[in-house]
Amino acid sequence: MNILVCISSVPDTTTKINFSDNGSKFDSSGVQFVINPYDEFGLTKAIMLKEKHGGKVTTITVGELNIEPVIRKALAIGADEAVRVNMSPKDSYSTAVEISNYISENTFDLIICGKESSDYNGGVVGGIIAELTNRPFVNACNGLSITQNTANLYREIDGGKENLEIDLPIIIGGQKGLVEESELRIPNMRGIMQARTKPLLVIEPKMNDILTESISFEKPSERGDCKIISNENVSELVSLLQNEAKVI
């Protein structure tokens, strides 16, 4: 089984977000980049499926040279080879077009994206790829097993989950549940050594349209100071919530 895992490189979750150039750009100085947390679940799932069914795990990332450490980490975790599309991602559509171009020139039974990237939180790249490559798409996928040529999937919906069955090839947007937190693979010494020599193919983007453009960023407005209420006086909290904040 040939599996492609789309990996986006995002600021570490502890990052304090700042902007430069008058709030027009994300300021990445001093920021540690990591594999998007949702993509980590997908990567581990891909490796587990390969161990069970055989095949190959390829990763693809749209990004410039400076993100290669994140790609090497994916190789150290256990991907067989990686592809980097040499372009700074501009919007969901152009990113998805580049990934789709690569998919069209290769054969994959399963393409795993994350539910969303934890930087821009679009949650749409997977669906756009699905449409451009004409495959079924299941997002927020929190359970997947494959028998022969058929995938049995669970999809989180507000209020429960749906169980679906689809023939391969398919695209999913994955999250926790694909594998459990405790099953997540982390790189070991041998993996890190091997990753240095695994293939990392760099391909040039085919120029394409950018449909949405980030103009500026601001920080959400700060909350006022926290009003501390004495632990002897719980009724005051209730009265403040009722009469001042008017939320109960």
Partner: protein, 314 residues
Amino acid sequence: MSIIVYTESWEEKFRKSTFEAVSYASEVAKMLSTNVIAISFGEESSEELAKLGNYGAEKVLACNQIEKGDSEATSNFLAENSIDANIIVFATTNTSKMIASRLSAKIKAGIVSNVIELPSEVSPVTLKRKSFSSKAIEQVKVNSDKAIICLASNSYGVIENHKNCSIEKKTINSSENIRFKGQEIANGKLSLAEAEIIVSAGRGLKGPENWKMIEDLAETLGAATACSKPVSDIGWRSHDEHVGQTGKAVAPNLYFAIGISGAIQHLAGVNSSKVMVVINTDPEAPFFKSADYGIVGDAFEIVPKLIEEIKKIR
């Protein structure tokens, strides 16, 4: 040039996020001097369909129920029926995004999710969205002629605006690719996305056996329950309650954080809440810096008192 809205229902009733999306669309329609057409794919009754008119829809295209999870048939129908529309509005739920993203590639419309405000301009469409796990607000401009807007839950509100609403039945076929096998319903639980009040608890509660008081507090308030990531990782509570940067992002009117330290990843998923209350034994817990009201104290003493006090006013 109508505005199209995708509607979503649960157990034959429209979701609150759908009424928000229709309310939002009808305000955008006013800006463009046009009207709102809603499209449904569920099994809603005519009475339920007519409710869309209360929030500004002038017409509903009501398709027959199709295979659940089928984003191909729905996005095809939406594409065919939005040829004359420049703006298509969705909620930001999993199902909405699954269909909206497909549609965006099909009709080459720029898509913006997590939108929190009306467009500041309609041509080109320019609007604000939550970004970087709610650590930032991003202004985005759409360069394509058509724009797809996915509205974040609990950010615009449900606004009444009565219109005479006509209902037109449509027949569509499911795509053959997807076979729906059933659904599991998280029983008796209020949805985190739609809850106005959320009672959330963390590792400070010491063990799963202590959640009874959290559930009682939630029940007293008509609230949903949530938890921090370690609590679901160690299996004290189910994964669907995990909120934060890597769990669900929520935006209720009132969020209680009980025995939660306030790590940056937790705050990222909850700081869009309008009012936050912290109960924590440690006065230095970082959550106090992000909350509106706080009590320094032991949850095991405070929560039962809180339930008692709330019962007095309810």
